[in-house]
Amino acid sequence: MSDVLLSLRGVKTYYGKIVALRGIDLDVHRGEIVTVIGANGAGKSTTMMTICGVTRAREGEIIYNGENITALPTHEIVRKSIAQSPEGRRIFGRMTVLENLQMGAAVINYAHFDEDLRMVFDLFPILEKRQSQRGGTLSGGEQQMLAIGRALMARPKLLMLDEPSLGLAPLVVKQIFEVVKELNEKQGLTVFLVEQNAYHALRLAHRGYVMINGQITMSGGGQELLSNPEVQAAYLEGGRH
């Protein structure tokens, strides 16, 4: 088996008659952090939702771990150990932090629950303090940590994060990205990151893709893209936030 964990080939997605993705090709290798950056409406989140089967690819195929998952229902895709922290976090507001984490472990039938809970609490100590609070009472940053923690409870091979920095204070963003880096380095977790915050995302990622209007226009190493004048002009001007 090759070291490619996830690959998209010519994926086209439509919302009704409107084209959202105009044929996406991308690869995620094992143990990599790959990021997709782009402006609002470029199709970043659609790419992620298409991988998960929330929106369907009308053409092209999505291969995960050597298997075609293009037409599988969402819950079965997720059971192939792809976990995601969806856009807008989507934690369960009336359930407690602990119950939220428990929901994350449902997909692997609560195997290694205590062990994984310890791991998540060590990564995000604030969640341990807040464990019996309602999810809805957490701050934005804490909710994002909870969303990532919940995804990790499923012991994923591939972690997909949709705009984890959305609406968060710079310090919190930094903290979250450090945890992602740590997960990647220590546990060898493969991460697929969709971000608007190009500076942080490219600094973190091994490789990056730039997306405009439903198409990938540029790709390369994280540092390489970061120093690319075009990328700098479009996404980084005054953007070191």
Partner: protein, 430 residues
């Protein structure tokens, strides 16, 4: 003048005068002019003093309300909040209320008279229906306006099985539950993709379809005539009859109350079964999946939960308990017709669940007692009964917009047990 109208008194006065004018317009036609049968046709008679009194009452009442209550420092909700106990104290009291109510229910037949026990049966039937619907609406968050359909399916299954195949109540009870849950799944399939308002409308229509079919399929269901002489349940094969039944077997004198008391314990057992199953389910993965589904369906799917199965099990289980309650209703009444299964029933059951607090088992009990009991207590008021009923609902919704018992006990703990108060989360969130 303009300055005066901007003061508190001025604004209240203006508001009161406006309200009085509206009242005058409305009452002058509806109250002020009265028709009277006279020789040679219909005559008209003025009733203006009553109109004057009504306008005056609105003027003064509205003025006082807006000056003292609405524009005051403490609007109604705040005033009520300060009189009524805090959520934490309610939670503490709640721990004792449940067992106390259970003991009360268990011992009721020993000191209650026939009227009280009949009332108890009625209230318990609604508690059971409320608990059943709570699975669908309270836990899984699927708004079902046609719950009475499953109640009807349960009732008719028993009545028809008894009529055509001469089966006993105890054989039909599980059959009624199975058939009702089967119908629950039939309803579930087409509405899998619907949520909120759309789901509510489809379930409403479903409830009506069942009723209309029962009403029009004359050859099979008897249509509007209903089904009568539905057999009564037996106590392990002993009938409650004057000769050779329950009383003779135990060597006690025959009393028509035996059957009533038996029915009371039967519905109590059925209701407790519903509660027990729901409480167990909440702690199982499927129960948690229901609650997660109520919170956020997309997040559920992204966590690998099969939302189709989750919804269908909620519909099926909720419907099954509705079916049990229906079979009980049929055997208790001895006669059923489609008239017992109108939309009004669905609305009452839903009101019990919502007023009690979505997802709260104890809330359903309290709301059932208040609503069904209240219906009976205010029976003497006749038409005003509905007014009192409406007022009660308004008061509950002002005081507790999330229902009487809005706290939700988490289903998992690491250290200490702690109920999370509904007061922490604003209305509309989560």
């Amino acid at each position: 003048m303009a300055d005066f109208l901007n003061t508190r008194v001025g604004a209240a006065l203006k508001d009161a005068v406006l309200a009085a004018v509206v009242t005058l317009l409305l009452t002058s036609i509806m109250v002020g002019i009265k028709t009277k049968t006279e020789q040679g046709g219909l005559g008209i008679e003025g009733n203006w003093s009553l109109v004057a009194w009504m306008v005056l009452a609105v003027l003064v009442g509205r003025f006082a309300m807006s000056l003292l209550v609405w524009r005051g420092r403490n609007p109604v909700a705040n005033a009520m909040q300060s009189i009524l106990p805090k959520q934490e104290t309610v939670g503490k009291i709640g721990k004792f209320v449940g067992p106390a109510l259970l003991v009360f229910a268990l011992t009721l037949p020993f000191y209650g008279n026939r009227y009280v026990i009949d009332m108890g049966i009625l209230v318990l039937t609604y508690i059971m229906l409320g608990w059943g619907l709570n699975i669908v609406v309270g836990l899984a968050g699927l708004l079902d306006l046609g719950y009475v359909a499953f109640y009807a399916v349960g009732a008719y299954s028993y009545a028809l099985f008894a009529q055509y195949f001469d089966l006993s109540f105890w054989v039909c009870l599980p059959l009624a539950g199975i058939l009702a849950s089967f119908w629950g799944m039939i309803l579930g399939f087409p509405v899998l993709r619907l949520r909120g308002d759309y789901l509510a409308i489809v379930t409403l229509a479903f409830g009506e379809i069942i009723r209309v079919v029962l009403l029009n399929w004359y050859e099979f269901t008897g249509g509007p005539d209903g089904i009568s002489r539905i057999p009564r349940p037996s106590f392990f094969g002993l009938e409650f009859e004057r000769k050779g039944g329950f009383a003779d077997f135990f060597g006690i004198p025959y009393d028509s109350m035996h059957r009533v008391i038996f029915l009371f314990y039967l519905i109590l057992a059925l209701a407790l079964l519903t509660n027990f199953v729901t409480m167990r389910m909440r702690k199982l993965p499927i129960g948690r999946a229901w609650e997660a589904l109520r919170e956020d369906e997309i997040a559920c799917r992204s966590l690998g939960i099969n939302t189709t199965n989750t919804k269908l099990t909620a519909f099926a289980l909720g419907a099954m308990f509705g079916g049990f309650a229906g079979a009980f209703f049929a055997t208790r009444q001895g006669f059923i017709s489609p008239e017992s299964f109108t939309f009004m029933e669905s609305a009452i059951i839903l009101a019990i669940v919502v007023l009690g607090g979505l997802g709260s088992q104890l809330g359903v009990v309290v709301a059932s007692i208040v609503m069904i009991g209240g219906f009976e207590v205010f029976r003497d008021l006749q038409d005003l009964r509905m007014l009192v009923f409406g007022l009660l609902m308004v008061v509950i919704m002002i005081w507790k917009p999330r229902g009487i018992i809005s706290s939700r006990a988490p289903s998992v703990f690491l250290k200490e047990k702690k109920a999370v108060s509904g007061d922490f989360v604003a209305e509309g969130e989560g």
